[in-house]
Subunit: 170 residues, 4 copies
């Protein structure tokens, strides 16, 4: 079985509470043995989630960059995929994640990823969304995102409701 | 000068009032001499806007398809670009439109395009958005979409406020 | 029926004889009423083919750019599609062309397009290829490119052997 | 330092000798501690190289798929990136590899990757190419691929001439 991949999406510029949640979520994802996928840039939610994951021995972090190989990458990314596609790469983030978690929906890039995730029918979780974001995504045709308040609740939902088992290297 | 390109985004399945607005908007775009760009599929807002435009002699319609060359295309598309990219092609719709108009925001594909348009800093217009959609996009960092109630108001804003001149073939 | 699209691929830096052939080929494509698709940049074979086409009244030229909307475009491109995908856009050139013509195979970008065209099973024509290029593409599994010496022969093959009719606006 | 990534490209249908070389090359890449990147499909050179790498404890294999998440993947791929881009994903293979090795150039997909690699200026190695392939890529403007006869020579060139150090997890 391939290691499950949890995608954590979020803004390059985010509020301190959002960054703290991202770091905590990244750590919990890694403790479950799952790979963490982010946009890979050395800023905001991407950086915080990857840093949290890499505080766990044996963790694996994947960054899907919008740019080419000479661009900055989070130092906490193990596997960097350089797409050179600009924001078209957001679709890859979604298709490559077994579960998509938006850690805040503070910027338009994250909003596009939540929308693409709903469109692709991926399991989609909004962690501590603003009320306007939650209200909007609930009204979208076909949309059905989970809303959760804490990183612990995200992990519980992935494991128990979505049935994705914790992973250990054989 | 290249012919200005107005992108009209909208759901493959849309309400009758939305489809009527799309058809009317497509006609007005064509009457201004502008090219109309849509997602090119033979359904929903894409089909309606293209049909409206092609009721005007000399109009030009461009469809950016998510699929390859054997896929269905609106009969009202003059230039079909087959990307084979799936939803990653949404980013191309945005970059290739001088102005992006969302005709309703009823589905997640359209939501992703509005978000990508705000991210790319393109002039972005929401035509008759649901209140939850308008509220959401106003709270997004860096977001600044125009909200308008009628196709006529969209054309007036493009011409007068955005300064895009009507176009005539030389 | 949509206007047939003939893609002409070639290097940004090309030999004078290649550029002359590109200009001539662009003109003949336009005289047949077909749309001309190129990479859209204001250099080399792309520029020459578009200029040739635009010397014909009623012609239509499509440019599929690797870059975003602030990048340089040939002044002879009517419809510019800004992909922002870098060289990944080469696949779009192929999928969007009913026939792919390589005007010389002098650079690696063109080589990638011929290869992608053979992979996608598109009708593929090499116009005046170097012997090493012709020999290589003949040995590729599944490859079957036509080799022709003149633009006139290209037009004749498209019309007679591939059965693509000349096009007139209704 | 991120783990260096060696991309091994090759046909989905390949000759037995090519498959044997791919398997051996994959194993040697893994023994050097480098990550192996392929197109990820469960066929041909991709499958053989990944299988070779996974015979080494601690190895890491990355597959960049042209398809979405429901498509077949080599069982020897640790990290699967689902692009949904079709052959446009070939550009990502190149940008994401520190060195690109073509294990045979038997099909058009591989040919496109070698061409894109030369265009992007990535270090490019042809392992046991057919004479027509070697001759062609040598004549391409800007092209400068290394030609080598054995997997051992590939590893030596990467380490000694390109200066990419063997990698050990800290």
């Amino acid at each position: 079985m391939r290691r499950p991949v949890i995608g954590v999406m979020g803004a390059g510029e985010a509020e301190p509470l959002t960054l703290e949640a991202a770091r905590h979520l990244g750590r919990l994802v890694a403790e479950a043995g799952w790979a963490l996928l982010t946009g890979g840039r050395p800023v905001g939610v991407m950086e915080a989630a990857c840093a949290g994951a890499k505080s766990v021995p044996g963790s694996l972090t994947i960054g899907i960059l919008p740019t080419g190989p000479d661009s900055p990458v989070s130092a906490h990314v193990d596997v960097a995929v350089f797409t050179g596609l600009g924001d078209a790469r957001n679709a890859i983030n979604i298709l490559s994640s077994d579960v998509v978690v938006a850690c805040g929906v503070e910027g338009p890039g994250t909003a596009s990823e939540v929308a693409l995730s709903l469109k692709a029918g991926r399991p989609t979780i909004l962690l501590a969304p603003a009320p306007t974001a939650a209200a909007f995504f609930h009204t979208l045709a076909g949309g059905s995102a989970h809303e959760l308040a804490t990183p612990e609740a995200v992990i519980a939902l992935i494991e128990q409701q979505l049935g994705i088992p914790r992973w250990r290297a054989v």
